[in-house]
Amino acid sequence: MADYNNRGEFLLEALNVRVVGQGQSIIVFSHGFGSDQSVWSRVIPSFTRAYRVISFDLMCSGSCDPTNYDFQRYATLDGYVDDLLSFLDALEIDRCAFVGHSVSAMIGLLAAIHRPNLFSRLILIGGSPRFTNDGNYIGGIDPAHMEEVFRRMESNYESWVAGFVPMALGADVPDMALQEFSRTLFSMRPDIALHVARTAFAADLRHVLGLIRVPVCIIQSSVDLSVPPAVAEYMRRHLGGPTVLEFLPTHGHLPHVSSPAPVANAIQQLLRRRF
């Protein structure tokens, strides 16, 4: 393993960091768990003429070498935050906009607490401070249903370890909201998938939302069963800096894949907005 000074350099390769486009301003695109940077492939072309665009794969992504996945380091989201800040440093970037989907929204929020001057704004798609419901808080996902998904992931893990076929899929769970949300959880190696899922669902950023001073733009699908509009409202009320909420007439948890054009337009407008 490379020594710590070179971690940034190591990450540039390990995370498949790509830089395209020309322009003064920089945008970083960060995908949600289970996919990889290819989910942005129909959104990024709208930006390459005017911006420098950076995209990368999270270390848990299926497109990264699984031997680099450190279970200790990524037991909390801090590992991912550290990765992000390290490779941005290695690229010598001191100011950028950040677009994050799902769990990457959490990573962006945490990163903005550590380095508020690095981010001109955060643009969050399908983002949430906590995914599961908790008392009066509506996260969108029923913990009991999530347990069902975890059970399947665990059975996959056991099958995989024993040399059998991991046959369980999120789509087997009767809850329709979870079917879509968990789809990407089953695109990783079973042990990594289970670990990532536990990390993401244990994460609770509700109490630190107030520490974020960076402007936050929330893009919300009008119909997203797993991250409902109530979550966006919650964030708007609790975030410490200026917050903008943008509703899109899109469906589902991955609007940048199912309807890339409205998402790209929304991001364009939010980038130009003055705070």
Partner: protein, 690 residues
């Protein structure tokens, strides 16, 4: 004396002189046999290496500097499958001309080359190294490189004056590229004898009439021409009478001619062709008249193989076909698409006419001929008495009766039959119709349409009981003369089976339908076509039925093509199944087959242009413990590729995105897999060819 004879063991090496050994080795072509021979001893290894003529290089582009130099006699070199597949071969390295020289030094005698030419630069560096090239096949499924028209070919034409054969059937370029290049290099064009421009529908609409004329007038010595073109007169540059006649007069030496409409190449995707009306006629007629067709045939006396796959109707063609018979005596193979009236009916006073007159014909394929009737079919079987290969597609008037008599008449010669998209020939009928040749047929295609399977299997059981009781009385079981010749449905000589099946249908009924026993079947091709998006979740149907193929004990090679099954990858709306469920459904059971070689096309999500392996697919495929070769025609992420390392005998894996347009962003996942392999398999270190 006894002592000396005992100690003197006859030694192969001493018995046969080197020259003879060398000749013997040169005659062996099978790669695995050659590999085995080279392991016998050092002398045999050297001899094998120095006599091998054909090599396909596999291995990683990063290691190109370690290319083996012992294969000095290679004439035919395939560089199109280097890993990562489709990667720019030389352009990505720091010293491309050095690499080119290394390749030419390692393979100095190459005259036939297959290469993935991602950009013109590849040939720019390589063509000068092999000036004696006579045959080149270019492969490119990626977007055309942004270069001036014809630029892809300039380096090749400039440096290889002996070029006589070009194959562009897997090469995406514009139709203007080649004619322009020919104009600039007329001597190359004039010496060409083989030209393959049969590109798929997704590439292009095909060559326009003026382009075909330009090409054929530049290449008068062509003896083999294959091209995709457009016959629909509503399009600019359609091929009509004049074009056909001009082609024939430009290239009178043609012995092989394929002209296929660009829509025709994709039409086996669905059983019910939307272009045809109920009668089976296309909506438009082609601008080709039977008289012109006759003149066309007359001007090509050397024709041995002809394919005219017209997308639009040509009617009453039997007079032209009669002329074809008399003017082209060498004709051995014929395929006609959308030609009607190919056979005048048998009449008690008039002899059969049209197609039904060829004794010399060995291979016949009739596609979308709307008025082909049973009696015409029978006439054909009587007239074409040497037919070994027969294909019929989309002919809605023929029935089991006609087909059965056809098979019976030709039972001595027919070994290769394809029946598809014929309304009255579902699976059971097709298989029953082929009963006369059940013990002879070697290659077969049928569509999987399961109506009447239950009825057939009930009858079959009754018949089986009768036969079982008869068997007790009679001694002979497979009586050749009587009607109980097949006590169970045994296809004794069948080696290759091809199936078409609609998305969502099961495979299990195949045994009941009549393909119960195929003792020597070694290769199977399954094509799944359809829209998975609107179908119910395949959750209650646990599996497609690959398990039912366990009954074919020799099955070792499979092509499983779900590439035309369309579904949702990540964006399935609420309540709809996504492709991971479908892959689980389709591949469940594959681990029970003893496959050695598998080509798999994952289902695709057309909206995001994604054909990618899902978790259950990766898991199921990795359970095929006897696999030696695995080729996935799509993408797979690194986590899933790592599943395949569990297969102990796996020697060769590649992700081949051979569909247009191939994804531009190459992942680096595959390069890393190769490094795992080299680490794992010492045998693979010396680029063992395919």
């Amino acid at each position: 004396m006894a002592a000396t004879t005992v100690s003197k063991v006859p030694n192969f090496h001493d018995m046969l002189p080197d020259a003879i050994m060398s000749n013997i080795f040169s005659l062996v072509t099978d790669t695995r046999t050659r590999n085995a021979m080279s392991l016998v001893c050092l002398k045999w290894c050297k001899l094998e290496r120095s006599t091998r003529k054909s090599l396909a290089l596999r291995g990683n582009i990063r290691d190109l500097n370690q290319v083996p130099v012992c294969f000095q006699a290679i004439n035919n070199l395939d560089l199109s499958c280097l890993s990562p597949w489709g990667h720019p071969l030389l352009e990505s390295s720091s010293n491309p001309s050095l690499l080119a020289k290394l390749l030419s030094h390692a393979f100095p005698s190459v005259v036939s080359l297959t290469i993935y030419a991602r950009s013109p630069l590849t040939l720019h560096f390589l063509a000068p190294e092999w000036p004696k090239l006579s045959h080149v096949k270019l492969v490119r499924w990626h977007q055309r490189f942004n270069a001036p028209i014809g630029y892809d070919f300039f380096a090749l034409f400039e440096h290889c004056p002996s070029l006589s054969s070009i194959d562009l059937s897997h090469f995406y370029c514009w139709t203007e590229d080649l004619p322009t290049a020919f104009e600039l290099y007329p001597s190359i064009a004039a010496s060409l004898s083989h030209l393959n421009l049969l590109v798929g529908h997704s590439f292009t609409e095909g060559y326009k009439s003026h382009e075909l004329l330009s090409i054929t007038s530049a290449c008068p010595n062509l003896s083999q021409l294959l091209a995709t073109c457009v016959f629909d007169h509503r399009f600019l540059g359609f091929v009509g009478d004049e074009t056909l006649l001009s082609i024939a007069s430009n290239c009178p030496r043609l012995s092989l001619l394929h002209l296929a409409d660009s829509t025709a190449l994709s039409s086996n995707s669905s059983r019910a062709d939307p272009n045809k009306n109920d009668e089976g006629y296309a909506s438009e007629d082609a601008r080709i008249s039977p008289t012109a067709l006759g003149d066309f045939f007359e001007s090509l006396p050397l024709l041995e193989e002809l394919v005219l796959d017209v997308g639009n109707n040509v009617r009453d063609t039997w007079p032209a076909l009669e002329l074809l018979n008399s003017k082209c005596p060498r004709l051995k193979s014929l395929k006609l698409g959308q030609l009607h009236g190919i056979c005048r009916e048998i009449d008690s006073s008039m002899p059969a006419a049209g197609v039904a007159l060829w004794k010399g014909l060995e291979s016949l394929s009739i596609k979308n001929s709307a008025d082909l009737t049973d009696s015409a079919l029978i006439a054909i079987s009587l007239g074409c008495s040497n037919l070994t290969k027969f294909e019929v597609q989309g002919c809605n008037k023929i029935t089991k009766m006609g087909m059965q008599i056809f098979a019976r008449v030709l039972q001595k010669t027919l070994v290769d039959v394809r029946i598809s998209s014929c309304k009255y020939l579902n699976t059971v009928c097709s298989l029953q119709a082929l009963e006369p040749i059940r013990d002879r047929i070697q290659r077969l295609h049928v569509d999987c349409v399961w109506e009447s399977v239950e009825q057939y299997s009930q009858d079959h059981e009754i018949r089986g009981e009768k036969e079982a009781s008869l068997k007790k009385k009679a001694k002979c079981c497979d009586g050749s003369g009587n009607g109980f010749s097949s006590c169970s449905d045994t296809w004794t000589k069948l080696k290759y089976l091809s199936l078409w099946i609609a998305a969502g249908e099961l495979l299990n009924p195949i045994r009941l339908a009549g393909l119960e026993n195929c003792p020597i079947l070694e290769e199977i091709q399954i094509k799944v076509v359809g829209d998975c998006r609107n179908q119910q979740k395949p959750v209650f149907m646990a599996e497609f039925g690959l398990n039912s193929l366990v009954n074919y004990p020799q099955l070792s090679r499979m092509h499983f093509d779900c590439g035309d099954a369309i579904g949702f990858a990540l964006t399935a709306p609420r309540g709809y199944a996504d492709l991971s469920l479908w892959e689980r459904f389709y591949l469940n059971g594959i681990e029970n087959l003893n496959l050695k070689e598998l080509n798999y096309w994952p289902p695709q999500d057309m909206d995001v242009h994604q054909r990618s392996l899902s978790l259950p697919a990766a898991g199921l495929l990795s359970q095929c413990r006897s696999l030696r070769k695995l080729f996935i025609h799509g993408t797979a992420n690194e986590h899933f590729m790592s599943f395949f390392l569990k297969i102990p005998t796996l020697r060769d894996v590649q992700l081949r995105e051979d569909y247009y347009p191939a994804p531009e962003n190459d992942t680096t996942s595959e390069m890393r897999v190769d490094s795992c392999y080299r680490f794992q398999d010492a045998l693979n270190r010396r680029h063992i060819p395919d």
